[in-house]
């Protein structure tokens, strides 16, 4: 069978499985729709949380960013795992004890304020929509490759599938489907990694492969990679930083606290039977996440090595050492069709020169070879994971598996996020604020309409995403980090913070972060509207917009505590509420209301 047929078969079979499960476990009541009957075991819940968590950003995008940023991309690895420590130690058990459905419900009740609840809903919607934009980029990449179309067409088709998929099931359908999706995606991620690690280093464990020597024993794999990239003028893989070390620090912190502030992850901890289980669920989720995250550095580094060796087949500078364009491999042609990989024969020699022409020293040397600039004019980072097995010449079924895994990752997270958006609008805004007597039927309908709206909006922005999938998702984390995380933390750990303080803090935090992001990335990410330009010289202490959420969070804490000190302290029953959520005894199942 040829590659295209096998790919269709794999994708078709996995989709049939998800839809079958979603149909079998269709949501019957609003309670089921949001939190799946609360009877899910920590290991199963951890696995579903992991699928929910590991989106297109983790599966499709992250290893590509690692491949091209080397050590600098460590911010994603540490940031997207370290947040679970904060979640488990600082938030999950208490939110579970509180026993409600959504994050805005907690904020509204703890800060005894409808305004606080509305502000929290708006912050959540902003963060979630930005997150879905990132997913849409990943979905567009995966579908365009799968259907062999250009990126925009892939995106439109992907939007349709996400819509059908998310509207059909609620949380319950999603929990079981997500367990299936986790299995598909982790298999799809690790199998090619094992193959490639075995090919390159002879060690089948990718986590050990990156520490090993090349299969011929000549030199360490990482030393080899450093040599290969620096010979072509690129930064040394294991030492290149992302911006500056301060930027890396801020970036990591933002992703960590953003993790602990994102609604679709937190909502999971409302679904476990006991406070004890909430602690364990965070641990199990991280076990399942860590399998992918510790494999990603191997995927990234080995993909980079294979890519460089495919194009530069011999010593740098020898005329015949660059691959001829006419002899380019099939994967190269496939990705050219999507528009995400572009070649331009600048010196007209019919061969591909791929090097860093921004490196002045090397550019001079390149000129002496007769090279007229880097000819790989576009290598979208988000294609690396999907292209990786093809670049490494792995069997067709592995390639098909990776496409199915990428789609599973993107769909599962998009569905979870859309559900969080739907519940914010239908449950928190509509039922909680404007129409308390709304029937269950109408509430579900409102939720579905909200989902459709969110998909359309995110798809529109997905046509011109502000960054690679992982970068766009990082902005969403910044928004959650600067608004929700501080409010939750202070709600639990500081009895003195009152409603005025909480509202002022959230508005300040998300306001500062959005202003900073928009001034460098464009208002609502529309290209050309960035009033300070995207360039790094204008960055505050060299901190990139993606990494700015932690500064917003600091401002949030400072403003909230300062304002609370100057205004009336919270009433006594709120102080008791806080004391009560701090101890596990007397917890009840999440109440429907």
């Amino acid at each position: 069978m040829d590659l295209q047929t096998i790919t269709y078969a794999f994708v078709g079979a996995t989709f049939a499985l998800y839809i079958g499960i979603a149909f079998w476990a269709r949501a019957a009541t609003t309670g089921d729709f949001y939190v799946a009957g609360k009877g899910i075991h920590p290991v199963a819940n951890g696995m579903a949380t992991a699928a929910d968590w590991m989106s297109a950003a983790s599966f499709i995008s992250m290893a590509g960013l690692i491949a091209f940023n080397g050590y600098g991309a460590s911010v994603f690895l540490m940031g997207w795992t370290g947040g679970y420590v904060l979640l488990a130690l600082l938030l999950a058990p208490y939110l579970r004890k509180f026993g409600k459905f959504t994050v805005p419900e907690f904020i509204g009740e703890r800060f005894y304020s409808r305004t606080a609840r509305v502000v929290a809903v708006i912050c959540l919607i902003l963060a979630s929509i930005t997150y879905v934009i990132g997913q849409m980029k990943g979905i567009g990449v995966a579908f365009s490759r799968f259907l062999e179309t250009d990126y925009d067409t892939g995106l439109y088709i992907g939007m349709g599938i996400v819509f059908i998929y998310s509207v059909m099931g609620g949380m319950k359908g999603i929990t079981y489907t997500q367990i299936a999706q986790y299995c598909v995606l982790i298999f799809a991620y690790t199998v090619p990694a094992i193959f490639i690690s075995l090919n390159i280093t002879g060690n089948p464990v990718p986590q050990l492969g990156i520490l090993s020597t090349m299969a011929d024993g000549s030199t360490y794999m990482m030393d080899k990679l450093n040599l290969v990239v620096s010979e072509l003028g690129f930064n040394e893989y294991t030492t290149q930083v992302l911006g500056s070390k301060l930027n890396m620090f801020a970036y990591t912190l933002t992703l960590m606290i953003g993790t602990a502030g994102l609604p679709h992850v937190i909502i999971r901890f409302f679904t476990v039977p006991k406070v004890r289980d909430a602690r364990a669920t965070a641990g199990w989720a991280l076990v399942f996440i860590a399998i992918l995250y510790t494999t990603a550095p191997a995927v990234g580094s080995m993909a980079r090595l294979n890519l460089m060796n495919t194009i530069q087949t011999g010593p740098v500078g020898e005329a015949t050492a660059n691959i001829e364009y006419d002899k380019r491999p099939q994967w190269f042609k496939n990705w050219e069709a999507t528009g995400l990989l572009k070649f331009e024969d600048k010196n007209g020699d019919g061969r591909i020169q791929y090097y860093n022409d921004k490196n002045k020293d090397f550019a001079a040397k390149a000129e002496s070879y007769g090279w007229k600039g880097n000819e790989m004019v576009k290598v979208d980072r988000d294609i690396m994971v999907l292209a990786n097995p093809e670049i490494a010449n792995l069997p067709n079924w592995v390639i098909a598996l990776v496409v199915a895994g990428g789609l599973a990752a993107a769909l599962s997270t998009a569905a979870g996020l859309l559900l969080a958006i739907a519940s914010s609008i239908s449950h928190d805004l509509l039922k909680g604020m404007f129409k308390p007597n709304i029937s269950e039927r109408d509430e579900l309908m409102a939720g579905r309409i909200a989902m459709a709206g969110a998909i359309a909006l995110a798809g529109y922005f997905g046509l011109h995403p502000p960054d690679f999938a992982a970068g766009t998702v990082a902005i969403a984390f910044g928004l959650a980090a600067s608004s929700i995380f501080p409010a939750l933390m202070m709600g639990i750990f500081n009895k003195g913070v009152n409603r005025t303080g909480a509202v002022a803090g959230m508005v300040t935090g998300i306001g500062i972060t959005m202003l900073y992001v928009f001034q460098h990335k464009g208002i609502m990410f529309i290209p050309g509207t960035s009033f300070l330009g995207g360039m790094s010289p204008n960055w505050f202490f060299g901190i990139s917009p993606n990494a700015f959420g932690c500064i917003g969070a600091l401002a949030n804490f400072a403003v909230a505590i300062g304002v609370s000190k100057m205004t009336t302290p919270p009433p006594e029953h709120i102080q008791h509420l806080v004391e009560d959520i701090r101890i596990p005894a007397g917890s009840k199942a999440a109440v429907e209301h």
Partner: protein, 83 residues
């Protein structure tokens, strides 16, 4: 009430200890001190690089399970556990 205050204090102490480790393996070993640590090699990579891309994640896992285990013991000690 005193019982609950004692429980909360012990909980905060445990969280403080675990979060110092969390901070050390990621921000200190993985970012701030990465260059000096990279002079120590683990196989083909520097120790700082290893912490940033591997070691910190393994430590995070251990931290969460230690916390869950210790808290379960603490719940019983202060008799504030569920059911």
């Amino acid at each position: 009430m005193n019982n609950n205050i004692g429980y909360w204090k012990e909980n905060l102490r445990l969280v403080a200890i675990l979060l110092s480790i969390w901070f050390a393996v990621s921000f200190v070993f993985g970012i701030i001190l990465v260059e000096p640590l990279n002079t120590i090699r683990v196989g083909g990579v520097g120790l700082g690089f290893w912490f940033a891309q591997q070691g910190s994640i393994y430590t995070f896992l251990a931290l969460i399970f230690v916390y869950a285990k210790k808290m379960n013991a603490l719940d019983r000690k202060y008799n504030v556990h569920e059911d």
